[in-house]
Each structure stands twice: as structure tokens, then as C-alpha cells.
């Protein structure tokens, strides 16, 4: 890995981590677990467009581990990992299709993240009662994804990596 790429990835990971921390300081938006803005996805979408899918996956997964280690718990690691994995898969596929812009890619990532988390929570708690949260998480993931996507798209347009 070239030094410049390594440094860029480290910077973006640090940024994702800080964004997660800032978000954890804000009061919850709704009483449903998993409803959040997903600020860290700004960094992940940015890396996805500027460097590629593998690099974005690296930033996202390192962020998940660090956040769980620093601010979370063992359980939160599993929820976040499932969310991040599904989100990366969805964003990768949508971007590869070439049909959508960064906004839709971010929206898919947000919704997939929520779906992955709730799926993992259902598995860990061995209950399907949490499926009642799905409509709200789909809605919140879509709305948050639009906001995050617009920010990420603006950054992708304006920041020159050369």
C-alpha cells in the first residue's frame, strides 16, 4: 500500500470514528433502537467513491471495531458488524450497477445497515418481535441516507485527491 493511500485511509477512518463519537453525544432521535443519522457513513461513502469498495470496507470495519472497543459493548459489536457488512454489500452492488448516484448508494447503505442490525438482534435475542421496528427503521434509514448521501456526494465532487 502506498504511503499516500495508507495515510488517506487512516485519516478517513479517524474521521469516521470522530463522527461516530459526535453522533453518540447527540440525544437519540427516536425511542426505537437503531434510529440514527449514521454520520460515519459520510466517510465510508467518500472512500467508496474515491478509493474503492475494498478500501471502504476496511474503513468501515475498523471503525466498527474501534467504536465497540471505545464506546460500546460486546453485543454492540455484533449488531454493528452485521449492519456494516450488509451496508457495504448493498452500497457496493448499487455503485457497481452504475445506475444510481452516491445519494441512492448511501440510502441503500443506511437501510441495509438497519436491516442487518435488527436481523442480528433478532438472532441474538432469539425473538422475532423486533420485526415490528422494521418499518420505522426502513423509513429512518432512507431519510438519514438521503442526508448523508447529499453531504458525501458534495464532498466527492469537491475534494480533489490528486
Amino acid at each position: 500500500m502506498r504511503t499516500k493511500k495508507l495515510t488517506t485511509l487512516a485519516l478517513c477512518t479517524a474521521l469516521a470514528l470522530i463522527l461516530s463519537y459526535v453522533e453518540s453525544l447527540l440525544p437519540g432521535l427516536a425511542a426505537i433502537p437503531g434510529v440514527k443519522m449514521g454520520l460515519a457513513n459520510i466517510a465510508v461513502v467518500f472512500v467508496l467513491y474515491k478509493l474503492g469498495w475494498k478500501e471502504a470496507a476496511l474503513v468501515s470495519l475498523v471503525r466498527v471495531f474501534l467504536v465497540s472497543l471505545l464506546f460500546g459493548s460486546a453485543a454492540s459489536l455484533f449488531y454493528s458488524l452485521a449492519g456494516a457488512a450488509l451496508s457495504l454489500a448493498a452500497m457496493g452492488l448499487l455503485k457497481k450497477s452504475g445506475v444510481f448516484s452516491a445519494v441512492a448508494v448511501s440510502v441503500a447503505g443506511g437501510v441495509a445497515h438497519n436491516a442487518g442490525q435488527i436481523g442480528m438482534a433478532c438472532l441474538l435475542l432469539e425473538t422475532d418481535a423486533l420485526r415490528y421496528y422494521l418499518p420505522f427503521l426502513t423509513l429512518s434509514g432512507t431519510l438519514a441516507g438521503v442526508g448523508i448521501g447529499l453531504i458525501a456526494a458534495a464532498l466527492v465532487r469537491r475534494i480533489d485527491m490528486k
Partner: protein, 120 residues
Amino acid sequence: MKKLWADLALILGLLLLAGGLYLALAARGEAGAWAVVRVESEVVARFRLDEDGTYPLNGGTNLLVIEDGTARIAEADCPDGLCVRQGRIRFRGQVVTCLPNRLTVTIEGGEDSGLDAVVG
């Protein structure tokens, strides 16, 4: 410009999906008979909704209050306190979740399905 329409179609599709899921999954307004408490996945307690009471759960991490046929978590030791903010539940299928403590309270059973409550 083409991508804008694709984006809008995806966003609209997801909003419709959320609406559809809501219609398919929303609690139907049938009153339940029991508040069933699970920790991890084990049923640790069940309380009748028609008997008011206050019960510490899970060694005191969460406080369950049953009153007027509704259940709610009144206190919790978790940092976000989302389970407290989820408020009262009374209909079959509704749930209050405390993910940090791996605890759920689900409303189960109704007047016409007493057996469900026994089998759990």
C-alpha cells in the same frame, strides 16, 4: 439526470416498502393478556396485564410497571434509556426492547388465546 430519476425511484420504493411493512406488521390493536419478559432469549417472567404492580427485572437493571392494562419500563440502568422512552405497550405483538441489557418485554396472549400464554 438519469441517475436522479433512478435515485428518486429507489427512495420512493423504500418509502413504499416502509409503509407496506408498517401495514403488514403493525400491532393490530388486540389487547394482550400477559407481559412476557425475556433476557437473552429465555423467558424469565410473565405478568398479567390486569394486575397492577411494579417489578424489578434482570436483577434490578430495569423496572417494569404494569398499570391500567399497559406495561412500560419505568427505570433502566442503560446509558441511552431507550426502553424507558419506548413508553407503554398494551397490544399483542408490541415490544419494548433494552438492547444493552438484552431484555425484551412482549405483550402476548389475549382473551381468546389463553393457551398461547401457557406455551409461550
